[in-house]
Symmetry: C2
Subunit: 217 residues, 2 copies
Amino acid sequence: MEMQSQGYTEDECYRKLRTAIVDGTLMPAQRLVEMDLARWLGASRATVRTVLARLEQEGLVERERYRGARVRHVSHEEAVEILEVRMALECIIARYAAERATDDEIDKIEELLGWMREKFEEGDLVSYSEGNARLHRTIAEMSRHSTARRLLDTLNSQNVRYQYRTILAPGRSHPSLLEHTAIVQAIAGRDADAAEQAMRKHLSHVCDTLRKMRSGP
Amino acid sequence: MEMQSQGYTEDECYRKLRTAIVDGTLMPAQRLVEMDLARWLGASRATVRTVLARLEQEGLVERERYRGARVRHVSHEEAVEILEVRMALECIIARYAAERATDDEIDKIEELLGWMREKFEEGDLVSYSEGNARLHRTIAEMSRHSTARRLLDTLNSQNVRYQYRTILAPGRSHPSLLEHTAIVQAIAGRDADAAEQAMRKHLSHVCDTLRKMRSGP
DNA sequence: TACGCAATATTGTATGACAAAATAGTATGC
DNA sequence: GCATACTATTTTGTCATACAATATTGCGTA
């Protein structure tokens, strides 16, 4: 009787596979063969199956009976849908962030915004884009609205590939910076209505940009 | 060698367990022991585990390592959060429903509204409440916005227990009927803005009602 | 009664089995 | 040469069983 080679836990496998999908290591429509994943993750087929089930529920994976799982492809139309829903949710969290932010948190996002402005002025749009993502994440935390936050998280993971593009669209970064400034100012001023409006305006512009990019992947 | 008693499929188990949670057969905080479920569902433990993983991802079940799964308890605060998000999503679908509805579909919701009015006048608030749920579901279908629809579905399943109460709140059914009439009229008139406004108004009232009921379960 | 320890129950994970279905590969007929 | 039918292989869906890790329970003792 030999040792049962204890592999990774379900949760570790979940995170690893999820990351691989979100960061593009695994491409959309790519087949996810259970035994291959099991070997790669160092886990059993059973564990892999439950992980795939979770990821399906989350919308990152598609499973067809007897035909296995594959990375879900997000169409351009769906990316727009997702962004519309995001807009609605981000309005909620912007409102709550304005109401519930602590002084420390406000310092933090103002600092972050300053950093983003620097990067923008340096022409480093990739870093700027990262700051953008971090800003939205931070505001979500500040809102303390766990339901909206959770949904936003899953939605964001579904269309990361579309995120960069909108910011890199020609002439889109400067308005983007102004819009983010307005959002931060509204939150700093604890003006819930203004925060929601600023966020809505920002995301409706992102939405327009995305809609115009019919040449999507 | 005897026949391997082929039980129910994962999906059947998923639906059965989900229904049991949503309709209250299984109470919140109730422990879900894997072997018990396996026997009840006529499936193996492995199948039950993947089903539980899916339901956890969906927010209907909570799992704690080495302590098993239990039906998730939705606090009053969370019910309000969920309703807020629902409001945002229902505004989206109301807008799209107004834009995309076919004549047949409009006939259908007008008919449904008539039925609800009857039930209301008969004082049959339980049937009225069912009609209410059906109306919202139908509008969601009409919107053809699969992302918003999917999220709404999961959210609704999480707080069904709170749904009835708001309608049965004293003096709440008559305004509810008027609000629903306004929504249907806006959609029938293909007025997206009006539909969104009517829906927002309706749900903000439901939200207020729920907020006032601090005596929730 | 409170505490500590042993007995029990339950979960987390792995393995191996096998039927069902899909897919790939091969032979056959034209 | 190509379409078609049949067979082999792969992969999935499900089950049973095993066992370590942990949680829970129950009991005996101070």
